[in-house]
Structure formats: C-alpha cells, structure tokens
C-alpha cells in the first residue's frame, strides 16, 4: 500500500511538476518581478532596489491621468459597442437558425484565428486619406478633399478594437443563450408575454452571465491594447499601452512602466468584479 502511494506521488510529480515549474518561472516570477520593479528606482540608467512610492506618485500627473482616463473610456466604449453589435448576432446564432448555425459559428470563430496585427493593418487601408472610405466619399461627390480624421483618431482605434474583439463577446454569450431552457420561453409565451416582453423579462436576464463574460473578454485586451492604438491612434489618440511600451523602450524607465502595468491590472480586476457581479443570474431578483 505504501509502495502504491509512493508511486502515486511520483506520477503526480511527473505530471504536475514540469508545468508548475514552467508557469512559476515564466509567469509568476515575471509578474512578481514587475510588482517589485514598480517600487524601485532608476539611477543613472541603472535600476536600483531603492524602495519608493515615487513611481505611483508620478502616475498621478495630469498627463498620465489623462491617458489612463482616455484608455478606460475607449475600452468601455469598445465593450458597450461590442455588446450592442454582438448581442443580436449571438441571439440569432443560438435561437433563430438551425440550418446555418454551424457555418455561421465557424465564421464568427475564424477571425479569432487570424492575426490581430493584420486585422489592425487592414483598417489603415480602409481609413487612410487614400483609403477605401475616402475614395468612396469622393467618388460619390460627398467631399472634395479626403476626410483626414478617419485614421489616427479615437474613432479608428475604437472601430478596429470592436472589429478585433467582437467575436470574443459573441462566443460566451452564444454558449449561454444556446443552453437556455426552451420551456421557460414557451411558458412566457403561454402566459401571454409578447415577443419583446419575453425577451426583456426572461431571455435577457438569463443571458446576463454570458454578457458579463463577453464584456470582460473585450474589456481586458482593450485596456491593454498596444498594437492597435500605436498603428491607428497616432499622436492624437494615445492609449496607456503605448506609454507603458515606451518605458520599456526608449524611456528606459522599467519602474514607472511596471507601476503603470500594475495599475492597468488593478483597473481590470475592478472591472472584472463589477462585470461579474452585474452579470449574476438575475432570475432570483424580484
């Protein structure tokens, strides 16, 4: 019996040891390092373990606060738009089509497999001064000179982020909507609830957990977006991700960049708590 127990432990170690070590060394340690760095300082281009809160104090400068605020606004806007755009699609896929369900689902998933760099880049071709939209506008005689605010703006960043992350909203919501008990909907109908009332009082509340997960999946990467604002935002629409990247590049201020990153993670954590609380199944509420 003891021999068997020993063998069991050996086998468990063989399976769980390597992944634990790997993730410990390459995820947990780096994240811990980042937390440490955020309390250290740079002196003469060297990072010194000199404990300070100065990095966090610097974050309170209007410049950084403004960029944080803009990033939160864009991330929230992207999340709301994804929800509004994605909900009807998830609803259609889950409840309104049997024949095309599979193919439509594959079509929603497929973009997730493709490079978000390429998907961001595509918008440069569409929104640029010589881009497809401007060509169409000029061709239709709606404008003589190209519209220059399309690219390198909050608009371009928001549009591209919605494009990139809307499948992240659709899929978890689809999973929830698909599992909805059809008997509940039947019951609502039998009790004389119209289509809208059934949706507002039964389907929508029951689908809130899916909405919450979807919102989270959109908000998190939008909050940490770097490639998209860098390529489409230009100088007019800087998000915090680019500022963080600068600290780990030209500015060589790892401590400040780490403090910013931890702040981003804190914002994500707060948002996650709020989203998930709001998304608790509302069926129990009066």
């Amino acid at each position: 019996m003891a021999a068997r127990k020993t063998r069991q432990i050996a086998a468990a170690t063989a399976f769980l040891g390597p992944p634990s070590l790997w993730i410990g060394a390459l995820f947990i340690l780096p994240m811990a390092t980042m937390a440490l760095l955020s309390f250290w300082r740079v002196v003469d281009y060297n990072i010194v373990a000199d404990w300070t809160l100065a990095n966090y104090e610097r974050l309170a400068r209007p410049l950084y606060l403004g960029i944080f605020w803009r990033t939160i606004k864009i991330a929230l806007l992207v999340t709301v738009i994804c929800a509004l755009v994605g909900y009807p699609v998830a609803y259609f896929l889950a409840r309104k089509t049997k024949r095309f369900q599979l193919i439509l689902l594959v079509l929603v998933i497929l973009p997730l497999w493709t490079s978000y760099l390429v998907r961001t880049y595509a918008w440069m071709l569409i929104l640029g001064t010589n881009g497809a939209v401007n060509q169409a506008l000029q061709g239709l005689g709606l404008t003589d000179t190209p519209v220059s605010w399309l690219l390198y703006s909050d608009f371009a960043v928001t549009l591209a982020l919605v494009h990139i992350y809307v499948p992240f909203f659709i899929l978890p919501l689809y999973a929830v909507l698909e599992k909805l008990d059809p008997r509940l909907l039947e019951a609502a109908k039998d009790l004389g609830g119209g289509r809208w009332r059934t949706f507002l009082h039964v389907t929508l509340p029951l689908s809130l957990p899916g909405v919450a997960t979807g919102c989270l999946f959109v908000f998190i990467p939008s909050m940490g977006a770097f490639v998209t604002p860098e390529l489409l935002g230009g100088a007019r629409s800087i998000m915090i991700g680019s500022v963080v990247a600068q600290q780990f590049g030209v500015a060589y201020d790892y401590p400040l960049g780490s403090a910013m990153s931890l702040t981003i993670l804190a914002i994500i954590l707060v948002a996650a708590t709020l989203f998930l609380r709001a998304g608790r199944p509302a069926g129990t509420a009066p």
């Binding site: 468990a12 399976f15 992944p19 780096p30 390092t33 980042m34 259609f92 390429v118 071709l125 010589n130």
Partner: protein, 268 residues
C-alpha cells in the same frame, strides 16, 4: 416550414452585416496583395503575383518566415506537452482542486499580452538572460499554455474513469494506461490545442516585440515595415499569415467534427 417572422429576418440581416464587417477588411488586404499597383488604392488594375515574388526574393522575409516556423514549432511542443501534462495531472491527482486550478491556469489569459511581454522583459533583464528566439519561445509557451490546458481539461470532463480503472485492474502499468488509453482519447483535443498554439505563436506580436533580441518573426517584419509605410509586400505577407491561420483553423475544425462523429458512433 413556417414563414420567418420579420424579427428573425432583421436579426439574420444584422448577422450578415456583422460578418461582412469581420471579413471585408481581410478580403481587401488579400485583393490588394494581388493588385498590379504599387499603392493600395482602388481601382483594381490587373492581377499579379509580383508582390509574392518580390517577397520570395526578400532575404529578411525568408529569415523571418524560418524564425516564425521555428518559434511556432517549439511553442507547440512545449505548450502542448506542458498543458497536456497539467490537464491530465490535475484531473487525475488533484480532482478536488480542479475548478480552482482551472481558473488559476487561465490567469495568463486574463493578463494583456503587453503586460506579459514587459513582465518577461523585466524578469529576463533582472536575471540577466540574453534576449533571443529562445526567450520568445518561452514567452509564447506561456501564452499558449492555458489554451492547451483548458482544451485538454474540457475533453477530460467527459472522460469515463472506469476505462482506466479496468485497465489497472487488468494489471496495466500507469505508463501503459497513459499510452494506450488516455492518450488516444485525448488525441483530438491535443491536436486542436497544438494547432491553436501554432497560430497563437505564429501571429503573436506584443510578447515577441519585448522578448526578442535581434531576430525577427513574420509579424515583427510587418510591424517594422508598417513603421516606414504601407507597401504591397505587406499585403502579401499579411495575406499569407491569414491563409496559414485559416488553414490551421480548418484542420482543427475537421479534427473536432471527426472526433464528435466517432464519439457519436460509439454511442456516447
């Protein structure tokens, strides 16, 4: 066959519109990659392969392609092996902590790639590891690990433990049970996870950006070319990477369908 209500038709139209929004930009890039014009604007002139030919002749592109394949290949090996070991290990040896560990293992997914990238950079810097393709592979394997772990775990949920027990009662060793029972059952999940790891790595920009030394991968080439300006070659590389990713997705889809079919035939 009942007539569709107007709301169903509206929802269908909206879905079609959203799909158009998802695919049209990619389609546009592909069209321009075959357009015989050095600027990416309408009208479309004539079909050409010259941008692809000029890529093929481009040394930087060929090196980056090779690097991307090396990195993605190594990421597949590491992420798949580690994710599979973790999935099987958690399922088998710490069943009580399954839910907790599954949430824990998905944590790297909840961290934006930017933060993962700079955290790795700070860490490599502190422990004085030189940046190279190896450090990129290590980073990518962390990105891909949770996906493999979750896919394998999901497959194990519907796994009948009596199969393993029967084999054990018949005297099979742990290793033999793993090779002859667990692994074949997991094969579709592992293949899917491997394909996802490949595309995750093949398309990864941000972690690569912070953890690479002087070596470039394909997305890094697109990235640095974009800093200079839009060229038709970028359209060609972009189209190529999308085709590779879609091919992977297609193969994964076939594997998943097949395994469901066999499962259905076995009467599960």
């Amino acid at each position: 066959m009942k007539a569709h209500s107007s709301s169903t038709i509206l929802l269908g139209l909206w879905t079609a519109f959203v799909l158009l929004f998802l695919f049209a930009p990619l389609f546009l890039v592909a069209v321009f990659s075959f357009n015989d014009s050095s600027i990416s604007v309408f009208p479309i002139r004539a079909f050409t392969l010259r941008w692809y030919e000029s890529l093929a002749a481009n040394e930087a592109f060929r090196t980056a392609l090779a690097n991307s394949l090396i990195v993605a290949g190594a990421t597949v090996v590491f992420a798949t092996l580690l994710g599979m070991a973790a999935g099987v290990g958690v399922h088998r040896y710490v069943p009580r902590l399954r839910t907790a560990l599954r949430s824990g293992a998905s944590l790297p997914m909840m961290v934006p790639h930017l933060i993962l990238g700079i955290a790795l950079l700070g860490f490599y810097n502190l422990v004085a590891i030189d940046l190279s393709l190896t450090t990129v592979i290590m980073g990518h394997s962390v990105v891909a690990f949770p996906y493999v772990f979750l896919i394998v775990s999901a497959r194990l949920v519907g796994f009948d433990p009596s199969l393993e027990e029967a084999a054990r009662d018949l005297g099979a060793s742990t290793a033999r049970i793993f090779w002859e029972i667990t692994l074949p059952l997991l094969a579709p999940a592992i293949l899917t996870a491997a394909l996802i790891s490949f595309t995750l790595s093949f398309d990864e920009v941000v972690v690569t950006f912070f953890t690479t030394g002087t070596d470039n991968t394909l997305p890094m080439v697109i990235w640095s070319m974009l800093r200079v300006g839009i060229t038709p070659e970028i359209n060609a590389i972009a189209t190529l990477t999308v085709v590779v990713s879609c091919a992977m997705a297609g193969v994964a889809e076939v594997i998943i369908r097949r395994s469901r079919l066999t499962a259905a035939k076995k009467g599960e």
